[in-house]
């Protein structure tokens, strides 16, 4: 018990604010408009993808481009199981299948270094997409599938629930011994192994956990899209958006990916409706600008500004 109360100590204010925010969001369907609910659902979905990406790639430094693969697996799980299982069970199944695939993929690929891992995970998305397309055309004789339709508010609440569980998981991993082990892998993998960290196990499990949330988010959003095919479900953009949103927000602090994804997803919705033809072009420009000018993201920018405003009081400016 002592260790648990230690974890909570010192951040009571943060907990209070989070719980109030979450309660405000949860009651939102009572007074919010339908459009805002849909917009918020999309934003929370991006936050889930970004935070679960950061959960693994942030501390370890392995750039995973497999987000679209796990997200798509979730979408297809819902398309196939949607009518057969209760909604919550189908969402959990989407997460679980993604989790299992991630364990398998992680076990064979996580010994690949740096850039190779990124290419491999990118290839995974394309491989699943092409195999599925082949299967759908030649075996089931269809190209797309219809997904059971759900009420907008239900989708919103489930998405919010996934988000809450994810944030708790993220928080406890970061504050635990497991999180420290993960961090040490990112700093120096060999040294971590020498200190007795089971490097492969820690990496594979974290990769799996991050995939679980991506799969669950995919499963629930599928019920809003109603029609899917392999190109829609395994769109590589969903591999890149989480990376960019995480870099944009900054991965140093727990709230970095959240605000990064929230701001970015909101801007994206605006851009997409106002300038549909220039959307991807703008996206490319923002991507490059963020990498050049905001390598530590918004969090880094905030910290730099804060340091500068404090700096005036000290001699070492």
């Amino acid at each position: 018990m002592d260790s648990i109360s230690n974890i909570f100590k010192g951040s009571r204010l943060g907990w209070l604010i989070s719980i109030i925010l979450l309660a405000l969001l949860a009651t939102f369907p009572i007074y919010g408009s339908a459009y805002t609910i849909i917009l918020l659902t999309a934003i929370i979905m991006y936050i889930i993808l970004t935070v679960s990406w950061t959960l693994f790639s942030g501390p370890t430094g392995y750039i995973s481009l497999a987000a679209a693969a796990f997200f798509g697996v979730g979408i297809y799980t819902m398309a196939i199981l949607g009518g057969e299982l209760p909604l919550i069970a189908a969402v959990a199944a989407g997460g679980l299948i993604s989790f299992l695939i991630a364990l398998g993929v992680g076990a064979i690929t996580l010994r690949l270094k740096g850039i190779y891992f990124a290419i491999f995970t990118f290839g995974l998305v394309e491989l699943i997409k092409h195999l599925l397309l082949f299967w759908e055309i030649n075996v089931t004789g269809t190209r797309g599938r219809f997904v059971v339709l759900e009420d907008n508010n239900t989708i919103f609440w489930i998405m919010l629930g996934i988000f809450a569980v994810l944030m708790l998981t993220y928080y406890f991993i970061r504050r635990s011994k497991f999180g420290l082990a993960l961090q040490s892998i990112g700093e120096n993998e060999e040294a971590a192994a020498h200190l007795g960290v089971n490097v492969t196990l820690v990496k594979v499990i974290t990769f799996g956990i991050s995939a679980f949330f991506m799969g669950a988010a995919g499963a629930i959003i599928a019920t809003r899209w109603t029609y899917i095919d392999p190109y829609v479900a395994f769109n590589v953009l969903f591999s890149f958006l989480p990376v960019i949103m995480a870099i944009f927000g900054g991965m140093g602090q727990i709230y970095g990916p959240v605000i990064g994804a929230a701001i970015f997803a909101y801007t994206e919705e605006i851009l997409l409706t106002k300038f549909p033809y220039y959307y991807m072009l703008t996206f490319g420009i923002i991507l490059i600008a963020v990498i050049i000018y905001l390598p530590d993201g918004l969090v880094g920018l905030i910290q730099r500004l804060r340091r500068r405003s404090l700096g005036g009081q000290h001699a070492n400016t």
Partner: protein, 289 residues
């Protein structure tokens, strides 16, 4: 049976020649400049579309386009490396971080070039007819333009190899690949050499685009597929090994041709399976050290 097998082999070789020079260009960019340029395929697309536009508007011979596309994409590649990637390289905390950030930035470059092309040329498939008649060889038939493409690909590939081995600039490039710091101490202007490398890689892509446009229909989003093929070839042939890429290109072309003759829609999936197996079994590639 014999004719079918011969057809498959000839098709594989014709395809392989293009893969070879595409991969040599990317290998130069990644092997020396350490940029895994995901936008490589976009330079192929640019080369193909400029050639198509010249041919349909002025009736310009595609082979003359080599002299126009070459300098143009070289300048684009040179400037991109000089501005974007040099900045990232200088500010990166470690070589590993630079590889990650430059790869992500090249994805941004892909979206920019691709969407500018979509704005200019629209999303339709384009093609033109150039030496489009059949040549018979022991019963197998293939189009004359593909033979021209293969011959030019082989000539360009070999010329490029001898440039790297014999020319003074080629030696500077190889020195920079082995040890940038020492090469810099010995008087090699690293930033200039890296920019030239990136430009030359783009030129190889542009040339491949010209040769491609003679044989296949082209469209603005075609690039990524060729980038992925190029990545697979350089992993197959070995990172930094230019002859490895050349031979690897032909090997992948043959594999693609064999799979396509059996199940055309699975050839890309077969490339990925091969690629994943390679990464797991022998990430250094066949010719890697």
């Amino acid at each position: 049976m014999f004719v079918a097998a011969l057809n498959t082999v000839i098709n594989g070789l014709l395809l392989g020649g293009l893969y070879a020079i595409i991969a040599m260009g990317l290998n130069l960019q990644y092997g020396v400049a350490r940029v895994l340029n995901i936008a490589h395929g976009e330079f192929i697309m640019l080369g193909a579309f400029i050639t198509w536009a010249m041919y349909t508007m002025f009736g310009l011979n595609p082979l003359i386009s080599l002299a126009i596309v070459g300098p143009l994409v070289f300048i684009i590649g040179f400037l991109v490396q000089r501005t974007l990637f040099t900045r990232l390289r200088v500010t990166a905390p470690s070589p590993g971080a630079y590889e990650g950030s430059s790869m992500l930035a090249s994805f941004g470059l892909l979206f920019i070039i691709q969407n500018v092309a979509l704005q200019i040329w629209g999303g339709d498939m384009r093609a033109y007819s150039y030496y489009n008649f059949g040549i018979k060889f022991l019963g197998a038939v293939f189009a004359a333009n593909r033979l021209i493409a293969l011959v030019f690909a082989v000539v360009i590939g070999i010329a490029f190899y001898f440039f790297l081995v014999r020319a003074r600039l080629g030696k500077a490039i190889r020195a920079s690949a082995q040890d940038p710091t020492t090469a810099g101490l010995l008087g090699v202007n690293i930033n200039l050499v890296l920019a030239i490398c990136f430009g030359l890689g783009a030129v190889m892509a542009g040339f491949a685009g010209i040769l491609l446009s003679m044989c296949y229909p082209i469209y603005p989003v075609m690039g990524l597929e060729y980038t992925i093929i190029a990545i697979i070839v350089i992993v197959l042939g070995g990172l930094g090994s230019i002859p490895g890429s050349f031979i690897g290109g032909f090997i992948l072309g043959l594999i693609g041709s064999i799979v396509s003759s059996w199940q055309p829609s699975l050839s890309l999936a077969a490339y990925y399976v091969l690629f994943m197996l390679l990464l797991i079994v022998r990430p250094k590639g066949i010719f890697g050290k």
